[in-house]
């Protein structure tokens, strides 16, 4: 009995001090190590993805695309006709996430993007989706009561502005091109990109702030 107790005590002691990762962390380690061992993915690929999306890839990419569309009507036309082709003019790698469609806000139409199924998102140009985009509440309410959701985001739409909600899929994702605000005449692309918010490219922001706003 004494032997059992001391072994048990030693085991408990080891466990207390072992800092075992959380259950989901262990499940991911389990999956990744098996996938790497069987040659399904390279661990360098997974590590590079984590670093890129934690540190480097974010909505500044999309903001540059929007700013160029504001400055260059020919690019804007190409972007609206075939966004995947137009984006090849930017050196944004990692865009193998289905087809991308750009949709343009106007004085009479506001565009808003959701993925009602899961969380499909153009993350190669907008980075990781915000937490609310992944929430069950946004996925349900964006379609059911878009004006109410927009109001909660601080967007008051005049009655004459219609809302079009685009439901993303694995095969087709959307980028909203917001309207260029007044007071930005003569601005260069970087100045313009700096005022394009992430939410405006998802459609939960509308009136961007130009000079004097």
């Amino acid at each position: 009995m004494a032997t059992f107790d001391s072994e048990n005590a030693a085991r408990l002691h080891r466990e207390l001090h072992s800092h075992l990762p959380s259950d989901p962390a262990l499940r991911v380690k389990t999956l990744e190590s098996l996938a790497v061992e069987r040659g399904l993915v390279a661990s360098e690929t997974v590590d590079a993805w984590v670093e890129a999306y934690s540190e480097h890839i974010g909505p500044k990419r999309g903001a540059q695309v929007v700013a160029r569309a504001w400055l260059d009507p020919a690019f804007r036309k190409r972007l609206l006709e075939n966004a995947n082709e137009a984006l090849k003019e930017f050196d944004y790698q990692g865009s193998a996430t289905g087809h991308l469609q750009a949709v343009e806000n106007t004085d009479v139409q506001h565009n808003m993007v959701v993925c009602t199924l899961c969380s499909c998102y153009p993350f190669s140009i907008l980075g990781m989706s915000p937490s609310w985009y992944k929430s069950a509440e946004y996925r349900a309410r964006a379609v059911r009561e878009p004006r109410q959701v927009l109001a909660e985001f601080g967007v008051e739409l005049p009655d004459q502005v219609a809302v079009r909600v685009w439901d993303s899929t694995a095969e087709l994702r959307y980028l909203v091109i917001p309207q260029r605000p007044a007071g930005t005449e003569g601005w260069d692309r970087d100045q313009l990109a700096a005022i394009v918010t992430r939410n405006s490219m998802i459609g939960t922001d509308r009136d961007l702030k130009g000079e004097g706003a």
Binding site: A25, L31, E32, T45, K134, F153
Partner: protein
């Protein structure tokens, strides 16, 4: 629940926990390598999210990323040769490795 972005707020980390980033990275890598189709990934993740909502899980990022892990486990078993037994054995091996490894040393599957 929703509010306008605060441009003056300090930037938030993209992921709450490293495993969340690793799970999405693994899923995207599996899709890009052609082991899962993008369609199957979206359908399986969507089903895991609906299941979580159905059992009343809180509408949080933790719930979302747990659904990501569930979808990864499901598709790994249906679309690759990884089995439930492989997952159980590997999970036990990782736990054993953590228990065996002293503080400050890298945790390796094989000593």
């Amino acid at each position: 629940m929703f509010q306008p972005d605060d441009p003056l707020a300090p930037p938030q980390p993209v992921f709450d926990e490293p495993w969340q980033a690793q799970a999405l990275a693994l899923a995207d890598s599996m899709v890009k390598a052609g082991h899962f189709s993008a369609h199957d990934w979206a359908q399986t993740l969507g089903a895991a999210l609906r299941e979580a909502e159905g059992r009343g899980a809180p509408d949080t990022l933790e719930t979302y990323y747990l659904a990501v892990v569930e979808a990864l486990e499901a598709l790994s078993q249906s679309q690759t040769d990884i089995t439930q037994d492989d997952l159980s054995a590997r999970r036990a091996a990782w736990e054993e490795a953590y228990h065996r490894t002293p503080h400050g040393q890298p945790v390796l599957l094989k000593p």
